[in-house]
């Protein structure tokens, strides 16, 4: 049996619906149609009245989720594309993210955001939003890179009492496969060493973990042993695991698919610089997408985001220092 990243997301939702009567799914086209990516395929039929189509109203969709959470439910919201969450932004950052702080009433909502670029998707169906949401206090931001994490972290997201931005990468939906769903998993908040090494630490998350791993394989043929850290969650950020890795390697390259100004990679460089300055043998580096909207044509798109090749090139530069 082979399970894709997308299957894992569907199965996690099915299990959440089965195990917890407080769970319901609300979003555009999630009902009988099964979602734009089929992440809720057949769920409306299996769980009548609990998987519901919403009007094209991201603001009201998130607002409804907050109200339902106040009433003790655990809504899962599918944003059709992460890019569209900007029209629900106010409800996410001002309503959901502030509720617990202001009132002591938790807001257990899970917002599934299909993120990231795929060839031909262009500026409005390709964005990575993790840095924007991680900036706001009150939100947990998860960025699973594996089939196992997509499953276990989505279940944990639903179980958590706080609003979770669940960034699921569209490029991984069908390409990534596993033999079975995991029984045990690392908890949210813990990073994972995806590959061990001694010469350089690559920190990545979401789809970039796979570019980093590919680059590490390429570099291993040249004799370099690269350690790859998969952050898994960007908020909270497991600084300890990253700093411990840098302590072993002395070199840091952070890779993110999001835009370069600020963001997760900048945050890691900042933390490692202040907490592990003496561990560094060379200035910490980061590699992000270019500072333009995400382009449409495959040639432009492939040159816009970091790839195994550009990650390996950046690593070679850093290893020479």
């Amino acid at each position: 049996m082979s399970i894709t990243y997308l299957d894992a997301i569907r199965e996690a939702q099915a299990r959440a619906l089965r195990d917890d009567p407080r769970v319901f799914i609300y979003g555009q086209d999630v009902g009988a149609f099964g979602g734009a990516f089929k992440a809720t395929k057949n769920l409306a039929r299996e769980f009548p009245g609990r998987v519901l189509d919403a009007p094209i109203s991201e603001d009201a969709i998130v607002g409804l989720a907050v109200g339902a959470a106040i009433e003790g439910m655990r809504p899962i919201i599918e944003m059709q594309f992460a890019d569209f969450s900007t029209t629900g932004f106010n409800q996410i950052v001002n309503q959901a993210a502030t509720l617990y702080w202001r009132t002591n009433v938790p807001c257990p909502i899970t917002l599934r955001l299909p993120v990231g670029g795929t060839s031909g998707s262009g500026p409005f169906h390709s964005q990575c939003m993790e840095a924007v949401y991680a900036h706001y206090p009150g939100l947990i931001v998860l960025t699973p890179a594996t089939v196992e994490d997509a499953y276990s972290m989505l279940l944990e997201a639903v179980a958590l009492d706080d609003p979770v931005i669940f960034c699921e990468h569209k490029l991984l939906y069908r390409h990534l496969k596993a033999e079975q769903l995991p029984g045990e998993a690392l908890p949210v908040g813990r990073a994972r060493i995806a590959r061990e090494g001694r010469d350089l630490t690559m920190v990545a998350y979401s789809a970039m973990v796979h570019e980093a791993l590919e680059a590490a394989r390429e570099l291993s043929a040249e004799g370099w042993e690269i350690e790859v850290v998969d952050l898994r969650s960007v908020k909270p950020l497991d600084t300890d695991t990253v700093v411990a890795s840098v302590a072993r390697t002395g070199r840091l390259l952070c890779v993110g698919e999001a835009w370069p100004w600020g963001g997760v990679t900048a945050e890691i460089v900042s933390r490692v610089s202040s907490e592990g300055y003496g561990l560094l043998d060379a200035p910490p580096q980061r590699l992000n997408a270019r500072d333009t909207p995400v382009p449409y044509h495959p040639n432009l798109w492939a040159a816009h985001r970091p790839t195994a090749r550009s990650v390996a090139a950046a690593a070679r530069n850093l290893l020479r220092q």
Binding site: F24, G49, R50, A54, P55, S57, E58, D59, A60, I61, V62, G63, L64, A65, V66, G67, A68, A69, I70, E71, G72, M73, P75, T87, N90, Q91, N94, Q95, A97, T98, L99, Y100, W101, R102, T103, V105, P106, P137, G138, L139, I140, L160, D161, D162, V188, G189, K235, P236, L237, T239, R271
Partner: protein, 344 residues
């Protein structure tokens, strides 16, 4: 038969008297509380702003009195009377204005941004149109839980009707046929912007048709009319007849906040029927109907003032929030809280 009709009329008259007197007392309490809070603000003893309800008490109290325990209420910033009628304590109001650590918001949020979500009173965020879909969410959840018979009221001003959030939420409520009562206090100005720069329809209640919901228009200066119209709208929603849009025409008889002298308000509006003070209109009706005499009203006024003075005096002696004792944690899952910045 005749006897039954007379008795029914008498009991209706008694009910009308009772509800008007209850309403008037909450309106007076709201007005006096506003005046006191404004005085505390002017004395420099309060941070932030003060947002008064003057001129909107009749509509507001009608919402509060029409709701039952177990219903949901998302008030706007001028709903002091409705909050009190819904069951909010004077202390909650004063403590939130003064930032008391003992208040429901514990100094983390202030003034009109207060509530107790678990008791059905939702604390507004400043983007007021955004509260409507949150009320929808509570009602939606209740439907999923098979809880019936409750309604939700969301109150906004004419300004919020221009927001996308208003449109999305009213449409959402209509699609789901939720028991939502959306009350619009059309008080002629959104801060300083007149309705002529806010919308172009003849009457905001006309919007109801476009959403497929029931619309109601009411004179917001007339307590009797507000009690009747809001009461009917709430009853219809409770009865399963879907969202109700109530639009009350009135005039804000104060600035947006106490910092605002409202010099932009057209004097002609002040002289028009919209400029009537709803508290006075209600008082005149009570006296005219002989539901109470002037000395009774004066006695209540004294009682209300004493109650407010005691509350304010009590809260002024209460501890302020302590930044060193503050937890500085924005999520409830303690072990996932980012300690990075909190270490210094």
């Amino acid at each position: 038969m005749l006897q039954t009709v007379i008795e029914a009329k008498q009991s209706n008259a008694a009910a009308a008297r009772d509800i008007h007197l209850a309403a008037w007392r909450f309106m007076l309490l709201a007005r006096m509380l506003d005046d006191k809070l404004a005085a505390v603000w002017r004395a420099g003893k309060m941070h932030g702003g003060v947002f008064l309800s003057r001129g909107q008490e009749a509509l507001s109290v009608s919402v509060g009195l029409s709701l039952n325990k177990g219903d949901v209420f998302a008030p706007l910033i001028r709903d002091a009377a409705g909050r009190l009628a819904f069951g909010e304590s004077i202390l909650d109001a004063v403590r939130t204005y003064l930032g008391s650590a003992l208040g429901p918001m514990r100094g983390r949020d202030g003034n009109v941004h207060r509530g107790r979500p678990r008791e059905g009173l939702l604390p507004m965020i400043s983007h007021l149109g955004a509260m409507i879909s949150v009320v929808n969410g509570v009602l939606f959840a209740r439907r999923l839980k098979n809880v019936s018979g409750t309604v939700g009221a969301a109150c906004v001003g004419d300004g919020a009707t221009s927001t996308g959030a208003f449109h999305e939420a009213l449409n959402q409520a209509a699609v789901e046929k939720l028991p939502l009562v959306l009350v619009v206090a059309d008080n002629q100005y959104a801060y300083s912007t007149p309705t002529s720069r806010q919308f172009a329809c003849a009457h905001l209640a006309d919007k109801a048709q476009g959403y497929g919901v029931q619309g109601h228009a009411v004179d917001g200066t007339d307590l009797t009319a507000c009690l009747k119209t809001v009461g009917q709208a709430v009853a219809r929603a409770r009865d399963g007849r879907g969202p109700q849009l109530v639009v009350a025409s009135l005039l804000r008889l104060c600035g947006h906040g106490e910092h605002d002298d409202a010099g932009y308000v057209d004097p002609k509006l002040k002289q028009s029927p919209l400029g009537r003070d709803c508290l006075k209109v209600a008082e005149e009706k009570i006296l005219r109907e002989k539901w109470a005499d002037a000395s009774q009203l004066a006695a209540w006024r004294e009682e209300v003032v004493r109650e407010i003075e005691e509350s304010v005096a009590q809260v002024q002696r209460e501890p302020a929030p302590d930044p060193f004792a503050e937890e500085w944690r924005a999520i409830s899952t303690g072990h996932l809280s980012e300690g990075h910045e909190a270490e210094h």
